[in-house]
């Protein structure tokens, strides 16, 4: 019998979290390389619509795991419910995105099953008959290839941006959806979560942005933020910043990119006056293209930039805004 890879996609409030496509791409790629079967699962209370959405992709089967105990989300409910399903199913690999929600329950789930999670991976490699998962260590200064030293199921979570979600393969025909009723016994769930809320009034989900213009210390003064905003507007993108800018209150905290802020993977990340401290890099290195403008030619941001401009952003950015506007008006 063929081995199975199970991708558990994430839903929040009845909506598929887009980062799940990246995990599905990882699953499709692994399935092709290993000759294993790819299946997906989604857990919730009324998830048939999401299961249907996933069924359009190249997967053998979707398991729609249904239980009132999955809603609202609690680590106890998800751990108990998924344990039941995964124990019965016995896949070789269980893949999930490394989201705050997954981080909250997957170590509990794996421990409850006597297994381990290789967390926050950025890729995998096959070496002989060994499957290695690559994760960052020491804030990204090193990478480590990590193997499992236990029986399957093997749990792996992938960092946001590790795979290209837009490369998810569609299926030739819709995959079958199998509805599974999961029984989460009373008393399992001790946490009582309240409604999810946004603190900042204009809180923005930068993970969904395709173009991000991001500012760092090189912007020098609060009044110059406006210049970066104009560029973001011209490009039709979102404005973001490194931690020092948000700590200074020049932009709200929900615009912060990096290990303590958001992790993003836009099509374009335009870094203005950002030196590229590792805490920032971990939040944006998944970007498809990085354009960096910085006057310090040794700034580490240039290490990961596709396009580099060594120069004064106060000269380059106004010219750039003008050029973008010119291009758009002629288009």
């Amino acid at each position: 019998m063929s081995e199975t890879i199970l991708v558990v996609v994430e839903q929040r409030e009845g909506k598929l979290n887009r980062v799940s496509w990246e995990t599905l791409v990882a699953g499709q790629s692994l399935a092709a390389e290993m000759g294993w079967t790819l299946e997906a699962a989604v857990a919730g209370n009324g998830v048939s619509a999401i299961a249907g959405e996933v069924a359009a992709k190249k997967v053998s089967k979707i398991h729609a795991l249904e239980s009132p105990g999955f809603s609202p989300y609690t680590p106890e409910g998800f751990s108990a419910g998924l344990k039941q399903f995964i124990s019965a199913k016995q896949p070789r690999l269980v893949l999930m995105p490394h989201t705050y929600q997954v981080r909250d329950f997957v170590p509990k789930l794996a421990t409850a099953m006597g297994r381990t999670v290789i967390s926050d991976c950025i890729g995998y490699r096959k070496e002989g008959d060994k499957l290695l998962f690559t994760r960052q260590m020491f804030q990204g200064k090193f990478a480590a290839d990590v193997s499992f030293n236990c029986d399957p199921p093997w749990f792996v979570t992938f960092q946001n941006g590790a795979f290209r979600g837009d490369r998810v393969e569609a299926g030739a025909s819709a995959a079958p959806v199998e509805s599974v009723n999961v029984d989460i016994p009373q008393g399992t769930i001790r946490n009582k979560p309240q409604e999810v809320f946004k603190e900042a009034k204009q809180a923005v989900d930068l993970t969904q942005a395709e173009i991000i213009v991001s500012v760092g210390r090189g912007i020098k003064e609060q009044k110059h933020i406006e210049l970066a905003k104009q560029l973001a507007d011209a490009l039709g993108g979102e404005i973001a910043a490194s931690r020092p800018i948000c700590d200074s209150g020049w932009l709200p905290m929900d615009r912060q990119i990096g290990s303590s802020g958001q992790t993003v993977a836009p099509k374009l990340y335009l870094a203005l006056g950002i030196s590229g401290a590792i805490q920032h890099i971990v939040g944006m290195k998944g970007a498809r293209s990085v354009v960096a403008i910085n006057k310090d030619h040794e700034a580490p941001i240039f290490e990961i930039a596709d396009v580099a401009v060594v120069g004064n952003l106060f000269d380059v950015v106004p010219a750039l805004i003008e050029e973008v506007k010119k291009m758009k008006s002629s288009a």
């Binding site: 421990t111 990590v146 401009v309």
Partner: protein, 256 residues
């Protein structure tokens, strides 16, 4: 409230690090400091104790050098410390570290256990959650606020993208604490003096017995990540650079 704070000693964020000869870990001849989120976890425990009275106990696992983290915590106001002292603790996976902590505190009765949300060296983000599962306690992660309620606690979880959520839960419980939950204090001179007389229990690896098993995940090798990107430098006047860049955004990066 009796609170245990799990702490870890890690190299500073900006420390230049080198790999060991086997390429499986760093060379340990570097300086160390407390893992940043753990410092916030300690501060939060001290604040909770000041509000509700009780005791703050700190625990770490690592070689002799790791005692520094405990000494600093005692100087800041922790009441006593537990040091699982062995160089072997450095290489343990999150499951074994959590198992070691659980075994070391089996005769104690804590109301709360705090950990930082993740460590700056391994970044597993798992030890606290595994510890909760091993103890059979509820947990909540990435916590930005803690209030005592009649039946337990109410905590504020940070979610992604600017979202938050309050969760009520019974005690005992494990919480993983986010950096920035509070403002860190400095140790006072008196605190540093008093720390010398505070109890510090050492636990040897052998005392933990079957709690430590073979790691279920193994670092095969560590290496400096290869630079995969080819960087193209744009030169010329600002106007020329702007023109070239817009062409790229249009034709290669395709966002215009």
């Amino acid at each position: 409230m009796k609170i245990l704070v799990c702490m870890k000693q890690v190299p500073p964020k900006d420390a230049p690090l080198k790999l060991n000869e086997a390429g499986t870990w760093i060379r340990e001849d570097v300086s160390y400091e407390v893992n940043e989120p753990d410092a916030f976890a300690l501060e939060e425990a001290l604040r909770q104790k000041e509000k509700h009275s009780g005791e703050v106990v700190v625990i770490t696992a690592g070689p002799a050098r790791a005692q520094q983290v405990l000494r600093e915590a005692l100087a800041k106001g922790a009441d006593r410390a537990i040091h699982l002292e062995d160089a072997a603790f450095v290489g343990l996976d999150a499951f074994n570290t959590a198992g070691a902590f659980a075994a070391a505190i089996k005769d104690e009765q804590f109301d709360l256990i705090f950990t930082g949300l993740q460590s700056d060296d391994c970044g597993f983000a798992q030890t606290g959650v595994i510890l909760a599962e091993l103890l059979g306690w509820p947990h909540a992660t990435i916590i930005m606020q803690i209030e005592k309620t009649e039946g337990g606690i109410k905590v504020k979880r940070e979610l992604e993208s600017g979202y938050f959520q309050f969760v009520e839960m019974p005690l005992p419980a494990v919480l993983t604490i986010q950096s920035g939950i509070n403002k860190l204090r400095y140790a006072t001179l008196i605190g540093i003096k008093q720390a010398k007389n505070k109890p510090l229990r050492k636990v040897a690896l052998a005392e933990l017995g079957p709690a430590i098993t073979a790691n279920s995940q193994k670092i095969e090798r560590m290496y400096v990540p290869q630079k995969t990107k080819k960087t193209e430098y744009l030169e010329g006047s600002s106007a020329e650079i702007a023109k070239k860049l817009v062409e790229k955004l249009k034709d290669e990066i395709r966002v215009l």
